[in-house]
């Protein structure tokens, strides 16, 4: 079931005009910001399908920028996001894509800051609800509503067990989990959704696990 809460249906409280194209877009931007760990210096925004066709009317581009600046769906500053991006030194470009993705409301965000880069693909599935469908080219499926760890690790035996054992030691329950890789034996991505938040210390321990490359924490909201 994609929708788990009554507040997915009645809500969110948001700045208009569209829950999928404005509020959902803001949430995709905000999720990208959180995954990136802060504000980007530059961001390329690729729009597909209905997002591409109607973004001007729905302020989809403005809302994506608002989210990237840290504004939630009900933040009045979303309306001024383009001006705020300039004031906050966040460069951006909006690119209309002709190819179609699996969902009509799709945005791909490429964030840059110094040497750091992150590419996320988000879809807005209605009523302001979103899903993260890929990160740096790895396919995943995350709602953004739950606490999750995105663990990039070496694709070899034992790594997953070491990470999940560590979570077990911390008495953290896994609600959902998936593994994705591009090529055998290279870097893989383990997505672990948790029932509770992980402590800073435990997070550092996971980062230190043999075979683990990089860990991104996603906080629910």
């Amino acid at each position: 079931m994609k929708f788990k809460s009554v507040f997915d249906i009645i809500g969110p409280v948001m700045v208009g005009p569209s829950s999928s194209h404005t509020a959902g877009a803001a949430r995709i931007g905000l999720l990208a910001r959180n995954l990136f760990g802060g504000q980007a210096e530059k961001v390329d925004i690729y729009l597909y399908g209905s997002f591409r066709d109607t973004y001007q009317g729905h302020a989809t581009d403005v809302a994506l920028l608002g989210g990237l600046l840290g504004y939630d769906t009900d933040d009045d500053r979303i309306i001024r996001a383009k001006e705020e991006a300039k004031l906050n030194n966040m460069e951006y470009s909006i690119i209309e894509m002709n190819e179609e993705r699996s969902h009509p409301n799709t945005a791909v965000l490429h964030l840059f800051k110094g040497e750091e880069e992150l590419v996320i693909e988000g879809v807005s599935i209605g009523g302001g609800k979103i899903e993260l469908v890929s990160i740096n080219g790895y396919n995943i499926n995350l709602s953004g509503n739950y606490h999750a760890l995105l663990v990039f690790h070496k694709d070899e035996f034992g790594t997953i067990a070491r990470v999940t054992t560590k979570l077990g030691d911390e008495e953290l329950n896994i609600s959902q989990m998936s593994v994705s890789r591009k090529e055998k034996g290279q870097v893989a991505l383990m997505t672990v959704e948790l029932d509770d938040t992980i402590s800073k210390e435990a997070l550092e321990e996971i980062r230190a696990v043999k075979g683990v490359d990089r860990v991104i924490e996603m906080t629910g909201g």
Binding site: V13, M14, P17, G57
Partner: protein, 291 residues
């Protein structure tokens, strides 16, 4: 968790509780929050809706100028006493228009289930309250939980997105949710709520999403008014004891399948229907300089 209207109604009947109570209990079970937490979260949504209704009646304009000030006209018309339909219906129309004009003006609203269809549920709810100020806060909050329970099933089994399923998935869903909640507020049984829901959704099947220039303005604002009126019509039928021949879950499935067969030009791309009329095309060109 309930995943069909059938399960939802069964649980309410078996435990002898209202639909809103089933929804509140499920939310508490899923999130571990208390009754008060869940109630208060919904109260914030309720307050947002009430403010949006008031704001629109005072008068707002969208940045494009395509919509705005019609709620003011409606309010004056109601005051004049010349209305053809009953006052409840007129108030529902006024409130629905008001909410969606605020939405189009990038004001603050609560998506129910979406922003484009945000006028329907508060439209009828606050019409009921305007007619009968003795309706309590708890009744209003429960109205939203009942709406949400029905919308929850639609969202998980079909769609509430115009881009995926057309306007039937947005205003159609909202209208059906509102009808079900109206029945509960008026003292009908859970089964009657399901019939009201079915009747309202059936009457909206096939409705396309064809926003002029891709904006949530034309025809969205007026479709919300229609969705509100349709909810009242369906609720009255259900309260009269009229039953839907097709069960609610099958109506939802039909809505989903109709959405799948709808061409993309009629699913929130702004490329078909009213958006593709000569006037629709002209407005788009005037606003964005492109055809």
């Amino acid at each position: 968790m309930f995943n069909s209207i059938n399960q939802l109604v069964e649980r309410a009947v078996k435990e002898d509780i209202s639909i809103s109570e089933v929804m509140i209990q499920q939310e508490m079970e899923n999130t571990g929050q208390s009754y008060l937490d869940v109630y208060n979260l919904m109260k914030i949504n309720l307050e947002t809706m009430e403010n949006a209704v008031k704001e629109g009646i005072e008068g707002v304009n969208s940045t494009t100028g395509l919509t705005g000030m019609d709620a003011v006209k409606m309010a004056k018309y109601i005051e004049s006493g010349r209305g053809l339909s009953g006052e409840l219906n007129l108030l529902a129309i006024q409130n629905a228009i008001s909410t969606n004009e605020v939405n189009a003006a990038m004001g603050k609203i609560c998506a129910t289930p979406t922003a484009g269809s945000a006028g329907v549920v508060p439209g009828v709810l606050f019409a009921m309250v305007q007619k009968d100020p003795s309706i309590t806060e708890e009744q209003k909050v429960r109205f939203l939980f009942t709406s949400g329970a029905f919308g929850f099933v639609v969202a998980n089994n079909a769609s509430i997105s115009g881009a995926a399923g057309g306007c039937q998935a947005e205003v159609g869903s909202a209208s059906a949710m509102a009808a079900a909640a109206l029945v509960e507020l008026a003292g009908g049984t859970p089964e009657m709520s399901a019939h009201g829901f079915s009747i309202a959704m059936k009457n909206m099947l096939g409705l396309v999403c064809d926003p002029v220039a891709g904006l949530v303005e034309v025809p969205c604002v007026k479709r919300n008014a229609a969705g509100a009126s349709n909810a009242l019509t369906a609720a009255d039928m259900a309260l009269a004891g009229i039953e839907s021949r097709i069960p609610a879950d099958e109506v939802i499935e039909a809505m989903y399948k109709v959405g799948l067969t709808m061409p993309s030009a009629l699913r929130e791309t702004g490329r078909g229907g009213l958006a593709a009329t000569p006037t629709g095309e002209r407005l788009k060109e005037e606003l964005f300089g492109v055809k």
